[in-house]
Amino acid sequence: MSHGYQFVGWNRQKKLYDLTLLGAVLSYLLLFIVGSIVLHPDAVIDMIILRALGTCAFVLLHVILAIGPLARLDRRWLPLLYNRRHMGVTMFTLALLHGLLSLLTYHGFGDTHPLVSLFTSNTRYDSLSQFPFQPLGFFALILLFLMAATSHDFWLATLTPPIWKTLHMGVYVAYGLLLGHVGFGFLQTETHPALFGLLAAGCLTLLALHLAAAGKETKLDTQDGFQQDGEGYLKLCEVLEIPNNRGRMFFVGGDRIAVFRYDGRVSAISNACQHQNGPLGEGRVIDGLVTCPWHGFQYDPATGASPPPFTEKVPTFNLKVLNGSVWVHPNPNPPGTYVNPGLVEEPGHA
């Protein structure tokens, strides 16, 4: 939201978030390390730390991947989405420490450069039981690094949101690589079936959450049969169906439009926030500005423009209110175009 970029725009909520996250990570590491020392007296500390870091990072990745669909299914999860990036960077840090420690321990101090050894010590790509799992972890770490390094909004703007988002969707590729890294690695050494069950449960839970969220979303996108007038306007709903200072979303012309009622007026803008494509229609109008539920970006509903000094803009849609119904034209105007708001009470209509 800032036009000049700070390293972290600290606020109280982010501090609470980060403190809680740090506390949780440290608790996990402590539990794992102390538990291993107590339950496995033969274990050596370097292996315990290696496993603590790796498992902590992977468990955290599951939480990170769950937040998205959870927030779609139940908006009360949104506070965890707000600062999710910090979770991602934390997870990357744990993974990096795990990766460096592994590289040194297993590939270092020998007759070959560790990074060369990483790819040459095991070339049995022809086998399931011998499949080289460490390169899978390496490539996942590279992806996680690219995401952590570009996690700041500065990069979001520099790379442009579409490219940035595509890069960050790489988290799913990383997750797939890590399924292989754990499945062909740790779980082939530690063969208790409950451990495999735990991995399968985590993966299937994520799949189920994503599919449930997708199911809910597609309902919105199968809207059809809006009444059309001669000029191409579509009748979307009755004005009073829209709660005051709130929006409603409609799937029109292949995309979603958010219609807002506020101060006795009605306006229609694109549903996708310029920041991260958050659902503006699920936001609120606060102080006359549409506020995105994800990170709080704001837009003037009549122009689709963020208030100065901010420069984000979203497309607007031509709209009219007739006989208490909202009619919207599906062709978007260029972002920032002023559109006369419809009035809730149309003067002088029959």
């Binding site: 539990l31 939480v63 949104l78």
Partner: protein, 253 residues
């Protein structure tokens, strides 16, 4: 309408709406609980740790006779041996992932003093030598004849491990996750050992050589840490079991 669903969260304000805050706190606790339970389960279910010891940082003095073949070993005198073979035989390796061949080159049959760190498990002992500490003592020692007995031709099932990691330098020092390290160690000269588990009794360790008794470090690399079947002649020599087998005949199970 679900409880507090109407609350609107704006992250850059100093507080969340009260109702939403309490729901969020509860959910965070639940997530953390799940994570800790998962962590606890993983911790408890680990099982492949062995009672190996690596006395890292503790240097001891040893005195004994060097044998270079098939892999460097040190014969240390056992006091009051009576009729028994009066030596214990310890494997020798260099620091990190290297064998001791260069360190003991030319010293075969000589008595030396050296400093080193012990690596041991389950009755098998190894010394990680501090290479600069090896000093020939110049005593004229009688040549030692190692007692040996032929155990005959056997077909064995087991796993190739590097002796240093398995005996205690790493834990677990075998299996899939350790494979790359074992390859590095064996490639660097650490003696490869065939680890065979018996139904009754403990594991057996066989030093691996080819049919002529030469080192097989290079040849066995593609097979490290895999379940194998090897058929070869077994000989017990000076307290160590040695498996003579052609690497080209190793069978992957």
């Amino acid at each position: 309408m679900r409880k507090h669903e109407e609350d609107f969260y704006i992250g850059y304000l100093s507080s969340a709406p009260k109702g939403l805050a309490s729901v969020t706190r509860l959910r965070i606790l639940i997530l953390i609980a799940f994570a800790l339970i998962a962590g606890g389960a993983i911790t408890a279910l680990q099982s492949k740790f062995w009672p190996g010891v690596f006395e890292f940082g503790t240097y001891r003095d040893f005195e004994g006779m060097i044998l270079e073949r098939p892999y460097p070993t040190l014969l240390v005198k056992r006091p009051e041996a009576g009729d028994h073979f009066p030596y214990s035989r310890y494997l020798l390796v260099n620091p990190f992932k290297f064998g001791a061949d260069e360190t003991v080159q030319g010293l075969n049959g000589q008595t030396v003093s050296l400093k080193g760190q012990l690596v041991f498990q389950d009755g098998k002992t190894m010394i990680e030598v501090a290479p600069e500490s090896v000093k020939p003592l110049g005593n004229s020692a009688e040549p030692v004849s190692l007692p040996s007995s032929e155990w005959g031709r056997h077909t064995l099932r087991g796993e190739i491990v590097d002796s240093k990691c398995y005996l205690g330098a790493m834990n677990p020092g075998n299996l899939k996750t350790h494979k790359a390290c074992a390859v590095r160690c064996i490639s660097g000269g650490i003696p490869p050992v065939f680890l065979v588990r018996q139904k009754e009794g403990a594991a057996l360790y066989f030093l691996m050589v080819d049919e002529e008794g030469n080192q097989v470090n290079e040849a066995c690399l593609p097979f490290v840490a895999e379940p194998l079947e090897i058929t070869g002649n077994v000989r017990q020599e000076g307290g160590m079991l040695i498996l003579y087998a052609n690497p080209e005949t190793y069978i992957r199970l």
